[in-house]
């Protein structure tokens, strides 16, 4: 009997967050615009040579997407903390980790998915060969949820503080090093015509681990941060 109710609660949580995001559609466009502008700056700074841009294209797209996600990460819980609904969520009978997992999913759908959709455009701006683009998309599909999950734990830790923007970047950097290495490794291997499955498999393994552990860690972190 409790299972349908739990599923209903999950669906309601997801619907609420997606509706809220849809009401402020402009905010969804911001990370996308940011990523476009940052990618555009690279040819200006490094010169428009095809060979150079091709070599750095995969890494630039990955880092740009990571930075755009970092900018949007700060807002994950902020409005819910302001209006007190996050505290209601902590008090609710449903398991907090599951509810936070739904919030993370909604956040990933509204910030990372648009970035993945325009990633081929970003890659094309830097002349990444068309054959590599599917590998880049696969790497992004595995790496962005990983970053959302890790980021959510850190955002939850800073929930009780005022100035968290730069601090978030400082805390996320050491955690996202492996994700960036493996995602960029896969793209670079594909570009050189080498087998690229191993780093993708590592990313997938890390993602599975994070999907299980990160919501639990996020709930624990939020309890610490809100416990005043």
């Amino acid at each position: 009997m409790s299972h349908p109710r739990l599923l209903n609660a999950c669906a309601a949580m997801l619907r609420r967050d997606l509706t809220l995001a849809w009401r402020r559609r402009g905010d969804i466009a911001m990370p996308v615009l940011y990523a476009l502008i940052v990618t555009m700056l690279f040819p200006f700074a490094l010169g428009p040579e095809d060979t150079l841009l091709q070599r750095i294209a995969g890494g630039v797209v990955l880092v740009t997407v990571l930075l755009a996600m970092l900018l949007a990460l700060d807002a994950m819980f902020s409005s819910d903390i302001e209006d007190g609904s996050l505290e209601q969520l902590v008090l609710a009978p449903q398991p907090l980790a599951l509810m936070l997992g739904m919030k993370i999913l909604a956040h990933w759908l509204t910030t990372a998915l648009p970035l993945i959709v325009i990633a081929p455009l970003l890659a094309a701006m830097l002349h990444l060969p068309g054959a590599v683009i599917p590998v880049l998309l696969l790497a992004l599909l595995l790496a962005t949820p990983l970053l959302s999950l890790l980021g959510a734990v850190l955002v939850a830790l800073t929930a009780g503080t005022r100035r968290s923007g730069m601090l978030l970047a400082l805390m996320l950097l050491p955690l996202c090093v492996p994700a960036v290495i493996f995602a960029a490794g896969a793209v670079a291997a594909a570009q050189q015509g080498l087998p690229w499955l191993a780093p993708i498999a590592w990313l997938g393994a890390a993602l599975v681990l994070a999907v299980v552990l990160a919501p639990l860690a996020c709930a624990a972190a939020l309890r610490i941060a809100l416990d005043a």
Binding site: T158, P174, I181
Partner: protein, 252 residues
């Protein structure tokens, strides 16, 4: 009869007892740190022979390697203290974890600086994106993240708990980072000193290194104790035992 040890440990966890204990031990730890440090410097810079390949330039090892050991050892201490702080909510464990972070960050910074000074004549470059160098840099950022998060909260105990949680996440992350950057790029030499089995270093060079290791350990104890004492006074400002200390110092 034999339960005085757990009893003593329990008592040690209370701030006033630890304050007195740390105050009594700190000068001894500092003296031992200076003694072992001086012996190590004399042994390392004067007595030890020059390396057949690197000449005298290798002597920076007597600072570099003990600092690198300490940077990881202190992170482990911080992680254990953070775990104790989160599970049993011991105030002392929170303070120990948070006051270890700046000392660990300093040792990590020294490791990076001496490593880059050593790298210039040996590898011909100040910095290279090698696996060990990169993990050490990531370790520095982990320390700085913990320190930053601790100071971002207005309530110190809440900040300590949040930062303790971050320290534990970092402990899980360190092996992953180390493995991933190893896979990515490696130039640094492997370990020379092996706890199990034969070390690949001459005894003339090994004993100053071990002496310096003891010196850094004792320095850590001395530095940690004085930091913890200060922090305990600030944290327990309104309590009776702090007032008594303040009154007795005012009388002198």
């Amino acid at each position: 009869m034999s339960n005085w040890i757990p009893l003593w440990l329990h008592k040690l966890g209370s701030p006033p007892t630890f304050y007195r204990f740390a105050g009594a031990l700190r000068p001894w730890a500092m003296a031992l740190a200076l003694l072992f440090g001086a012996i190590a410097l004399y042994g390392g810079l004067v007595l030890a022979p020059a390396d057949y390949q690197q000449g005298d330039a290798y002597r920076i090892i007597f600072i570099h390697v003990p600092s690198a050991w300490m940077s990881m050892f202190i992170y482990a201490v911080m992680g254990v203290a953070a775990f104790i702080a989160l599970v049993w909510r011991l105030k002392l464990a929170e303070v120990v974890a948070m006051e270890s972070a700046p000392i660990g960050a300093a040792f990590t910074f020294i490791t990076l600086v001496t490593g880059s000074l050593w790298g210039k004549p040996m590898w011909g470059t100040w910095w290279t994106w090698d696996a060990r160098l990169t993990s050490e840099l990531v370790l520095l950022f982990l320390y700085l993240g913990v320190i930053g998060l601790y100071h971002a909260f207005e309530d110190r105990r809440q900040g300590a708990r949040a930062a303790a949680f971050l320290a534990i996440i970092g402990i899980i992350n360190v092996p992953i980072v180390h493995f991933s950057v190893n896979w990515w790029n490696t130039l640094h030499q492997g370990s020379t000193i092996n706890v199990f089995g034969q070390s690949k270093i001459s005894w003339d060079m090994l004993w100053p290194l071990l002496s310096m290791m003891l010196a850094t350990k004792f320095y850590y104890i001395a530095s940690l104790f004085s930091r913890v004492r200060t922090d305990l006074l600030a944290l327990e400002g309104g309590k009776d035992w702090v007032r008594k200390i303040a009154e007795s110092e005012a009388r002198q």
